[in-house]
């Protein structure tokens, strides 16, 4: 049983006009096996929260803490965070020209597992995971995210989630850009991974559609850089109906 603990997190980005504060004190605790959904208007800082936990250099932490089982995540380098068990499925996965998916996955798995996976079992493992996500085997030979469609990039993120087996996964709008079938396949993938492990999930989304597949234990409303309300799955339905007006005009 692990705990990811976010306390009073404040984050700024450097802009031409100086530092702009984006996160204004985020408090959130996620335990293994739990699924937390975060919903909130565009620009409210959801991706900023995700990137800050993962350690993107663009964001400056100005206050608060993030700990994983007591260990100071903010003191870790980006790769250390991943090796400690954090995974971020990105809203906009990055293209890496000239680096094949196979090479990338194997290098990542080697880093995360601390040793190179055995060639024979590894090839099967990748094939199996790709098949389960309905990915064409040809993707293995293509360059990381290069020329992938939006939906293909998202599947590739979940493929990595499956192979790297983190303790906590942050899924930043993994559902955006997926067609109905892909949404089901990807959601089933996430549920399968969850079923086989004790994965804790922070799921950022704009739509209740994905929450019909991946059932959240908690739903949080995010506005202007912090969590403004928390509740159960019923909160998502209320948001779908009424929007964010009551949180943003306050």
């Amino acid at each position: 049983m692990s705990t990811l603990d976010i306390k009073g997190l404040q984050v700024s980005v450097a802009t031409e006009a100086g530092f702009t504060e984006i996160l204004r004190g985020v408090d959130l605790t996620i335990k293994s096996g739990e699924t937390h959904a975060i919903m909130g208007p565009n620009g409210s800082g959801k991706s900023t929260l995700a990137y800050s936990i993962a350690g993107h250099p663009k964001y400056t932490i100005t206050g608060g803490s993030v700990t994983l089982d007591g260990a100071d995540v903010l003191a870790m380098s980006v790769d250390e965070r991943a090796r400690a068990g954090l995974f971020l499925a990105m809203q906009y996965p990055v293209e890496v020209p000239g680096v094949s998916v196979t090479n990338f996955l194997r290098t990542a798995a080697t880093a995360i597992r601390g040793e190179a996976p055995k060639v024979r079992t590894w090839v099967g493992e990748v094939k199996e995971a790709m098949k389960a996500l309905n990915m064409d085997p040809n993707f293995a030979e293509r360059n990381v995210n290069e020329g992938f469609s939006g939906g293909e990039k998202k599947r590739h993120e979940i493929l990595q989630l499956e192979l790297l087996k983190p303790k906590f996964a942050i899924l930043d709008e993994t559902d955006s850009g997926l067609d109905v079938d892909a949404l089901r396949i990807v959601s089933e993938g996430v549920n399968r991974i969850k079923g086989n492990s004790d994965l804790g999930i922070l799921l950022i989304t704009h739509y209740t559609r994905i929450l019909r597949y991946i059932k959240p234990d908690f739903v949080h409303v995010f506005a202007a850089g912090k969590i403004v309300e928390a509740g159960g799955p019923e909160l998502a339905d209320k948001l779908e109906e009424k929007g964010y007006a009551e949180y943003t005009t306050a």
Partner: protein
């Protein structure tokens, strides 16, 4: 051995062609008073029955092209022998022919080579440039109609080497010249991959990679002369620079002459700056004298490491150092993959990795 010549004028550094080159470091190769030894500097290490190597007197084997390059002019003056490599007509080489340098002394030397590809022949030649040298070097390629030559020139020189080189192809009807130039070694390398055509339907694909670290000057000056109708050219050079005072120069001159209707050309140079203090000069130049062409374009970019790529890889647990290596390998993969030889590819990538590690240390 020749010393003083009458009609040779050393460059001053003010000439357009020499304005980037540190002339104080060319080891006397351009100095009219330096003693330069003319040698036959290449040998074939993998013999193939369809290929013949003979060393001939320069009088009997004059140059097939005109050059205003001073290093070439100097080399032509001092050599008395030319190495002639002939690929037989209709030959289909199943294995690449490996060429190495011989007789390099580390003192000023010059050499001239002619590679003739017979009618409809098909060959790959790999030239390994390694060790110490101060060499002014000309290689001409005479491609008979329908022939196809892939020439891979590997500059893996030692840290002190000086190499001034012209690699000029004359491509006749329906012939294809694929040039792959890889420059990772040497103190000063100035290499001129140049192309002219002598018949329609001809095609040139010039690919290159250079990686410069501390104090290296690596210069590639391409010149494509579209002087016949319906010929094609592609140029794609990629460079990376790391460490203080690493300097690369890439010049891409493409001329489409008035009679060169139906020309199809595109040239691209991309540079990756891995540290401050390194400098990449990139000058694409396209001159078009006829509008009746299929296409003509050029692009040049010089950028820093893509932090988003590094972040993405690191966020999957890959340590920063390995992530950097992956990105650099990825950047070069497109060119290196064209060599089609795993052993050479690995050797080059290992060298790039270790040079990079030295810079980062």
């Amino acid at each position: 051995m020749s010393t003083l010549t009458t009609n040779y004028l050393a460059p001053t550094g003010r000439e357009e062609a020499w304005r980037f080159t540190p002339l104080s470091r060319v080891g006397g190769l351009l100095d009219a008073t330096t003693a330069i030894e003319g040698i036959a500097s290449v040998r074939i290490t993998s013999n193939q029955p369809q290929v013949k190597l003979t060393v001939k007197s320069a009088q009997n084997l004059p140059a097939i092209s005109i050059s205003d390059d001073l290093a070439t002019i100097r080399a032509r003056e001092v050599i008395s022998e030319v190495t002639h490599i002939e690929v037989a007509a209709n030959a289909q080489l199943s294995e690449p022919l490996i060429m190495e340098r011989a007789g390099l002394s580390g003192k000023p030397q010059a050499s001239r080579t002619l590679i003739s590809c017979g009618l409809n022949s098909h060959a790959t030649i790999i030239l390994n440039n390694a060790g110490d040298a101060i060499l002014a070097d000309e290689i001409e390629f005479d491609l008979a109609p329908g022939s196809n030559l892939t020439f891979i020139s590997l500059q893996e020189w030692s840290a002190k080497a000086v190499h001034l080189s012209r690699q000029h192809a004359v491509i006749s009807k329906d012939a294809t010249f694929n040039s792959i130039v890889i420059t990772v070694g040497g103190s000063l390398v100035r290499l001129l991959p140049t192309v002219e055509y002598s018949g329609p339907g001809s095609s040139a694909d010039l690919q290159g990679l250079y990686f410069a670290t501390d104090g290296q000057h690596l210069e590639h000056r391409l010149h494509v002369n579209h002087n016949v109708p319906n010929a094609k050219s592609r140029v794609n050079y990629k460079g990376a620079l790391a460490g203080d005072k690493a300097h690369t120069v890439w010049i891409g001159d493409v001329y489409i002459r008035a009679n060169a209707e139906g020309t199809d050309t595109y040239e691209l140079n991309r540079n990756l700056l891995l540290s401050d203090g390194a400098r990449a000069d990139s000058v694409p130049n396209l001159e078009i004298e006829t509008g009746e062409i299929v296409g003509a374009g050029h692009a040049s970019t010089t950028g820093r490491f893509d932090d988003e790529q590094l972040f993405y890889l690191s966020s999957r647990g890959i340590p920063a150092e390995i992530a950097r290596r992956l990105v650099i390998r990825g950047f070069f993969a497109e060119i290196v993959g064209k060599i089609n030889n795993e052993e050479i590819e690995n050797r080059l990538m290992d060298r790039i990795d270790s040079e990079l590690a030295k810079v980062e240390a």
